[in-house]
């Protein structure tokens, strides 16, 4: 092959690659980690798309932090593969556009907040000007404290600084491991705003938090870990998709009862019936049901939508997991 040909080939390949959609912000498959005898993480696969906000949920010791550290190349997985922004995460260069707020956040106590930010800006290689670093401090509510030593900071202030550190290198992917564990209610609202602002700029976020309401409000997708395995994952609509409606009915004829049962699973408690709606319901099921029930002679006193919160869903997933374990190994 002549050099001209190979040059054209390389160019064609480059065009092809440039035309591909960007690699996911984070991707891992079959991750496994064992600490001595304890299996902390087993066969975890997950993906965070570009600009997507993914919540990582699970009880204490589920392996969330371990998965995050394996994604970032801080802990070596025993098996499995992890990629960050299209590069293997064992390669340090993969972390060039990644920001990280660790669960255990500590910064050099003998440096000032501004010096810590400058250090991280420098290490990230992003060439962030000083004014942008100051903006970053202001964003997390530390604007007046840049010249104070970190050693004198309160815990919440250190966590705010950690957030600024995670954001300072112009990241395309931000990993926040319990970012609000030390924050006051105002700080939590700030974090929520920051995460939503990141999404609006197309920055992907992996958010691990025990505050489910927070996750429910900002996340596009949720991954639930339990005992080192993925217990459930999906968009909020998928996870909470199983909606229900409660009806107060009297004079319920057998024909009307059949009509109810045709829709889905029915739980009856006196005059109240709870009917599960299918996930692909386009909004016509409930009005149609009411019309049919009335025409079948039933008297409809009340129709109430039942909302499942993410918290109830999470508890359900974890209890189901515990129950199936109690039922014996399959």
């Amino acid at each position: 092959m002549s050099t001209v040909d190979s040059g054209a080939g390389v160019q064609a390949a480059a065009d092809l690659v440039a035309g591909l959609p960007p690699a996911p912000a984070a991707w891992c498959t079959g991750l496994r980690k064992q600490y001595r005898k304890h299996l902390a993480v087993e066969d975890v696969s997950l993906q965070v798309g570009r600009g997507e906000i993914v919540g990582l949920l699970g009880p204490n010791g589920a392996g969330k932090t371990t998965v995050i550290k394996m994604l970032l190349g801080l802990v070596r997985p025993d098996a499995g593969e992890a990629m960050l922004l299209g590069q293997r995460s064992a390669d340090p260069a993969a972390r060039a556009r990644v920001g990280y707020l660790p669960e255990l956040f500590r910064y050099q106590p003998w440096l000032t907040a501004a010096e810590v930010l400058a250090l991280h800006a420098r290490l990230s290689g992003a060439g962030v000007p000083a004014a942008e670093q100051r903006d970053c401090l202001a964003l997390v509510g530390l604007s007046g404290r840049g010249d104070d030593r970190v050693g004198g900071f309160s815990k919440g202030m250190q966590q705010r600084l950690g957030l600024a550190v995670a954001l300072v290198g112009r990241p395309e992917f931000v990993v926040l491991d319990e970012p609000t564990s030390a924050l006051d209610p105002l700080g939590r609202a700030d974090v929520r705003d920051i995460v939503l602002e990141l999404r609006s700029r197309g920055v992907a976020v992996l958010l691990n938090s025990h505050l489910i309401g927070e996750v429910e409000r900002v996340c596009d997708r949720v991954v639930v870990l339990d005992r080192g395995r993925v217990a459930a994952s999906g968009t909020l609509a998928e996870l909470l998709g199983q909606r229900e409606v409660r009806l107060h009915l009297t004079d319920l004829s057998p024909a009307a009862q059949q009509r109810l049962a045709a829709l889905g699973r029915v739980d009856r408690e006196g005059e109240w019936s709870t009917v599960a709606l299918s996930a692909d319901d386009d909004g016509t099921a409930v009005p149609d049901l009411v019309r049919d029930l009335v025409s079948l002679g039933a008297r409809v006193h009340a129709v109430e939508p039942v909302r499942i919160s993410l918290e109830e869903r999470l508890l359900g997933i974890l209890r189901d997991g515990a129950a199936s374990r109690a039922a014996g190994p399959s």
Binding site: P92, P102, F105, Y107, W110, S124
Partner: protein, 284 residues
């Protein structure tokens, strides 16, 4: 970020840490005390009526003794700086956010090591130079090879520092400092014991010194430094190498061989590589 830039950034950070922690004040205070005490001692010596040979011998011994003090201070200072800065940072979580940056762990470790080397050897060279000047002013003694002596003193600090760095990647901050200083003192004692064995013609005991000097090159480098500090006639004055001068802990009978220097360099490279291997594989 290029590896060289990372190394320099981390080295500069380590130096800044040393300058902001109390270690620097402790070192400065100890140095001033040692300088003050020794200048008082040397000036009293100058007041005695000694022959010029006796004066040079005493000056040599005293200089070596005080220099040993500095090397001990440097050993303590760097050992108790290396522990916190390496394993302390991994324990407390400071390293977590640093190593999540696009930098190689080996570059991070090299930066830390370089910073500590600059700090430790900078200290011994400056303090040693000040001491040599004090001796010059008080008793008018100038060592035969001051530059070599100071360089060897710095090399000794580097050896101990590298050992502490290795220990700090596997054990806790305080323990690594304690073990490193303990080993440093043990080798020194083994060196003295070995020298006594040689002077008494007991080969088995004599071998204790040579073996420990190979295992941890601090004592060997220290003996080379002493040899460069002391007056060449001092050994003869003391009664000759075979007559007990070799057994005296603050005189050295022979200069350093190039082979031994090569071994020390190799030793540092090997121990550093071990430290890097342990640090790169470590789960944070």
């Amino acid at each position: 970020m290029s590896t060289a830039r990372t190394v320099l950034t981390i080295a500069a950070l380590t130096l800044r840490e040393a300058s902001r922690r109390r270690v620097l004040f402790a070192l400065a205070a100890l140095t001033v005390v040692l300088l003050g005490l020794s200048s008082w001692g040397f000036s009293r010596l100058a007041a005695e009526s000694l022959t010029s040979g006796e004066a040079r011998l005493t000056a040599s011994i005293l200089l070596n003794l005080v220099m040993f003090g500095y090397s001990l201070v440097a050993a303590l200072g760097t050992a108790f700086l290396a522990g916190p800065t390496l394993s302390g940072e991994t324990e407390s979580g400071i390293a977590l956010s640093m190593l999540a940056r696009p930098i190689r762990r080996s570059a991070f470790l090299l930066g830390k090591w370089l910073g500590l080397v600059a700090f430790g050897s900078g200290f011994v060279v400056l303090a040693g130079l000040a001491q040599i000047l004090v001796v010059r002013l008080t008793v008018d003694y100038w060592p035969p090879a001051p530059a070599t002596a100071l360089a060897l003193l710095a090399a000794q600090t580097v050896v101990l520092l590298t050992l502490t760095v290795l220990l700090a990647t596997v054990i806790s901050p305080m323990a690594s400092g304690v073990v490193a200083v303990g080993l440093f003192c043990t080798t020194w004692v083994a060196g003295v014991v070995g020298a006594i064995g040689e002077a008494l013609g007991n080969d088995a005991v004599g071998r204790v010194g040579s073996v420990s000097r190979v295992l941890l090159p601090t004592d060997g480098l220290w003996r080379g430094a002493m040899n460069a500090f002391q007056d060449p006639s001092a050994i003869v004055q003391f009664g000759g190498a075979d007559e007990g001068a070799g057994a005296f802990p603050f005189l050295s009978t022979a200069p350093l061989t190039l082979t031994y220097l090569g071994w020390a360099v190799l030793w540092v490279a090997m121990v550093w590589a071990l430290a890097a291997m342990s640090f790169v594989r470590r789960d944070l």
